[in-house]
């Protein structure tokens, strides 16, 4: 069996590097020693402002959002026992989008948008939960169908709002829908949510290994399936909601990071959980660094970059027939 420690350490270093890159790259390039100085010998100068007022908050949001999304994706895939599941598949982000876009159309901005997004996500979670739970049985396909159909309903509302909105807020709305980390003040709550979510998931990681083999098999091996499924649903939805209120619907991270890791290190969730958080965080951070620099001074929505990097890399891994034994 894979020894997790070296792989997790490698990812920790990779995460550190991604922060370093995010701190140094931009219209004003900073060297490693400048970054070092500003962290350990803080002096009041322009470097400090660039790092601590501009790049660090944004890097923080990108990393936390990436971690939230890949953890949520990992949980959804087990919950729905479906490799195609991503954090948005049950309509959490679409519900958030409808509320956020409505707020934008009404001329609100800033914290109003995030709070309405959170409200929308919450409504959507309740709706899916209530409708799929009604008959008492909680099988994955029923949950999946309910979620997908509700997401489609929200999708129609999103299109409706986009069609009737005036031109002025339209660009902001589209960026929000594509996933964008811009002009947001970082809040510590999402980091706490990520840490708590990671710890909770880790504590039931072996249950997840068994749940993916089917509800009956899991029950036969001593897992109380129904409470577990309900907790996973709520947990994954909350993680997604916190990601969405920070950065809109950033696509792809939540689908692809867990799968990349499954191809690389197998299906043991005790290792998949911490590595998903780290890899998801660093990938989104790197993507965001690219998004704000590649056609500077113009900025791209980060969702565009995640797909541009993610698609070829994932296809490469998928077709390489990766030999996991090489990592042992």
């Amino acid at each position: 069996m894979l020894k997790p420690a070296p792989f997790i350490s490698a990812l920790l270093i990779f995460s550190g590097l991604s922060f370093l890159i995010a701190f140094s790259v931009g219209s004003y390039q900073l060297s490693v020693s400048q970054i070092w100085d500003s962290i350990f010998y803080p002096t009041d100068n322009i470097v400090r402002t660039i790092i601590w007022d501009l790049r660090a908050p944004r890097a923080y949001i990108a990393f936390v959002t990436g971690g939230l999304l890949s953890l949520a994706g990992l949980i959804m895939q087990v919950l729905l026992r479906n490799p195609l599941a991503d954090p948005y598949i049950l309509g959490v982000s679409s519900g958030a989008s409808v509320a956020a876009l409505s707020a934008m159309a009404l001329g609100f901005s800033g914290a109003w948008i995030s709070s309405s997004a959170f409200f929308g996500a919450f409504i959507s979670i309740l709706l899916v939960f209530g409708l799929s739970h009604r008959q008492g049985s909680w099988n994955p396909s029923r949950l999946l169908l309910t979620g997908v159909v509700i997401a489609a309903g929200w999708g129609a509302m999103i299109n409706f709002i986009l069609s009737i909105s005036p031109d002025k807020p339209l660009r902001g709305m589209l960026f929000w829908l594509m996933g964008d980390i811009n002009n947001i003040t970082p809040d510590p709550v999402s980091f706490v949510v990520l840490i708590i979510g990671t710890i909770i998931t880790l504590s039931i990681a072996r249950h997840l290994n068994i749940l993916s083999r089917g509800d009956l098999q899991a029950t036969a091996l001593g897992v109380s399936v129904k409470p577990l499924r309900i907790s996973l649903f709520i947990l994954a939805s909350c993680l997604t909601a916190f990601a969405v209120i920070q950065a809109g619907s950033v696509g792809f991270i939540g689908l692809i990071v867990p799968h990349m890791l499954r191809l690389l290190i197998g299906s043991d969730h005790r290792i998949l959980i911490p590595t998903s958080v780290l890899l998801g965080g660093s990938l989104l951070l790197i993507s965001d660094t690219i998004a704000r620099t590649i056609i500077a001074p113009q900025q791209l929505p980060v969702g565009v970059i995640t797909a541009f990097i993610g698609v070829p890399f994932f296809l490469y891994l998928l077709n390489k027939n990766f030999d996991r034994n090489a990592l042992k």
Binding site: M1, N209, R213, L216, Q217, G222, R262, R270
Partner: protein
């Protein structure tokens, strides 16, 4: 004290009776065969016995303790089942799958230790799969997957083994060898083995007791020698069956 007993057990599925007032004591050291036609409810009965299904009336006791008062984990330490179907949506290796049998014995933050790993590799040896332990489940044949399920149950090592058609997909030699293993192991270690089978002659060769589900809630149960005869079998399988004597063995052949 019976290891497993049912009191006045009524089970029905989709409005059809599987068994009515089933009062049976299953004791350690016994090998029970469950016989019956397709759809008569063998799987439903086996699932009910290990509390995978809660729609029944009557009581099920494990060592005099009502199963509904037991925790899932406690049940899983006492009773284990090899299911007809499991799912494998994600790439998992044979060894990773088989070691899940240790789940009921390990607490939340704990990892499998050397002892658990040894139990898993030993059971892979028993089912003849040790050379495939790093293979993905998706790369296995149907019979090999069946042996993975059986190995998971051997790794779980409960006091009560429940096998739901253990022979499906297995070749002749593995059918005999694995049934030999399960029956010998159960007898030597005073375990209880309950399995559903379609092959009457294997049942008569390996079982000490039979439970024949004859449909509409009726059943015939008891010691093998008392109830294994042409009349009962014909009633169970709704098909004429004859008995052929071969030296000391009785063989049953469908007409």
């Amino acid at each position: 004290m019976s290891l497993l007993s049912t009191h006045n057990l009524d089970i029905s599925i989709s409005g059809k009776l599987v068994c009515q007032s089933l009062d049976t004591n299953f004791n350690s050291g016994e090998i029970w065969g469950v016989l019956g036609c397709n759809g008569v409810g063998k799987t439903t009965l086996l699932h009910t016995l290990c509390n995978l299904r809660d729609r029944y009336s009557g009581d099920i006791f494990i060592k005099e303790k009502n199963i509904i008062q037991m925790k899932r984990k406690e049940i899983a330490q006492t009773i284990g089942i090899q299911l007809q179907h499991t799912e494998d949506p994600f790439p998992t290796t044979v060894l990773e799958t088989v070691i899940t049998g240790r789940h009921p014995y390990i607490s939340n933050w704990q990892w499998e230790d050397e002892n658990d790993l040894k139990k898993a590799t030993d059971s892979l040896n028993t089912v003849d799969l040790s050379n495939l332990s790093d293979r993905f489940i998706s790369q296995l044949s149907g019979g090999e997957r069946q042996r993975v399920s059986l190995a998971t149950l051997i790794t779980q090592d409960p006091e009560i083994f429940i096998l739901d058609e253990p022979n499906s997909h297995l070749d002749l030699s593995h059918q005999i060898n694995l049934l030999n293993h399960f029956t010998n192991y159960s007898k030597q270690n005073n375990r209880l083995l309950i399995m559903s089978l379609h092959d009457i002659n294997l049942a008569s060769r390996f079982c000490t007791h039979l439970l024949m589900l004859t449909g509409e809630g009726h059943f015939i149960s008891g010691q093998l020698n008392d109830i294994l005869n042409v009349d009962n079998l014909t009633e169970t399988f709704k098909h004429p069956i004859i008995e052929v004597k071969n030296k000391d063995n009785k063989l049953f052949i469908p007409l």
